[in-house]
Subunit: 267 residues, 2 copies
């Protein structure tokens, strides 16, 4: 489903010969490359929206281990591949234990390097291929992965691709609270930059479209400070309960916005 999502690969190496050859092949394969010749801070990698990074630690000197440790620690979802010259078993073991996804020895064929980058990246993305195929029904909603679309009473919600993928992920994890970072990582495929609001915006779009076709259900619930949870609930009951439990509610301050049909849950 997300097979040929292009890979954004960072390369940290000074071996211009190797990098040039690799770049040519990667470009041919439709990958996006970013190059650097020294340590790149984790935050910058996030900003570059990398899926994977290929590092030759030998150019980093003494800080190599510390750097690898930091990157793997801070960005556990980034695929880190080491590609360097001779190394001892102990070094390779140490690297792999640290969180490096693969350790390639130079000289190596660029095709193999790419295949290994792909293999590691592939691993990272897995997790939604499981039920991939089966349509999913929740409340009045039917999510059909085979159509990249969701329906209510046979009518399409007219979701765009991202909207669909977000809804699919949520519906697949019905009842579970998903953090924004998790959502972003799984739908967008790379780490979420701090302060990114894309997830919120798409949630709003989904809510609008859901509301339009299925007004009497609340599907997406906000968990303040955490993220969102998909859980279809007939909206009617809930509202009545709230009304019943509420005293007359005198405060008719001009609530510019009428109540959300989605319930915000503290958590």
């Amino acid at each position: 489903m997300n097979p040929q999502q292009t890979i954004r690969l960072g390369v940290i190496d000074t071996d211009s010969g190797f990098v040039t050859v690799l770049a040519k092949r990667a470009e041919a394969a439709g990958w996006q490359l970013r190059q650097a010749t020294g340590a790149v801070p984790a935050q910058e990698m996030v900003a570059m929206k990398l899926n994977a990074v290929l590092i030759d630690p030998s150019i980093l000197g003494d800080e190599a281990w510390e750097y690898l440790d930091r990157i793997c620690g801070e960005l556990p979802d980034l695929a880190v591949i080491v590609c360097t010259g001779r190394s001892t078993v102990a070094q390779r073991v140490r690297g792999l234990r640290l969180g490096v996804g693969d350790w390639i020895t130079k000289p190596c064929h660029p095709e193999e390097a790419m295949a290994r980058v792909e293999a590691v990246t592939r691993r990272r993305r897995r997790g939604r291929n499981e039920a991939e195929a089966g349509p999913l029904v929740s409340g009045e909603l039917e999510v059909r992965p085979d159509q990249f679309q969701a329906f209510v009473a046979g009518e399409s919600l007219d979701l765009t691709r991202r909207e669909f993928e977000l809804l699919h992920l949520l519906a697949d994890s019905k009842g579970q609270v998903l953090e924004r970072e998790t959502i972003y990582q799984r739908v967008w495929g790379y780490a979420m930059a701090h302060g990114d609001r894309s997830v919120d915006v798409f949630i709003r779009k989904l809510r609008q479209k859901l509301e339009k076709r299925s007004p009497s259900w609340a599907y997406i619930h906000t968990h303040f400070g955490v993220g969102y949870r998909f859980d279809p609930e007939p909206a009617g009951i809930l509202k009545e309960e709230i009304r019943a439990a509420d005293p007359p509610a005198p405060e008719f301050t001009d609530r510019s916005q009428q109540l959300h049909d989605e319930v915000t849950v503290t958590s």
Copy 2:
């Protein structure tokens, strides 16, 4: 949390020397090993509950590729690692593209083989680790990390994120007295400023919410001059005495002054 979940590794190889050495080390590391000297059907691997399988395809003859393809296709969540003698770049690339997680060349150090198996397995697991940790039950209370929420008899305590994290930490260290500084460091993530009362305030909020849903239990105990301890205790004796001495006291909303249901313990 889930770091040292033991790995169940299948080994398909006839190289008894290699397998023996590997087995010894794997056992020492607490892994579970299953061995075979020929192709094992996917279904059998499922039955063996393997996390990963280490294969030398050279012993499978002509069917090697077909077999690898089948295994990777049918069990996309199984970590498949190839460990074999000399091979060409093309073969390795083909294998990796097929879905093999890593391709190791013999002879190889068993420690490195294990590290690589671990690395591949680690990646496969990521993504559904959402469960982070199983729900935690204490007294009438159920703490559910996957929901960022705690429940009593199925009803949510409506904890905010920090409240939840504090409760989670406490419940995780049941019976242990935690100092304020420790609590702050672990929940807030940085050192507590001298004189900060946040922990106390949150403890109060937790007690209120616990009291509301589970009135007959005392969960959080104060250790004067030290910190707090989580330990669910039926509040029986103490409570009854208090109630007996008290007039019926209907549920007034403003119970501004009411005895703590928590017991202060002299440390």
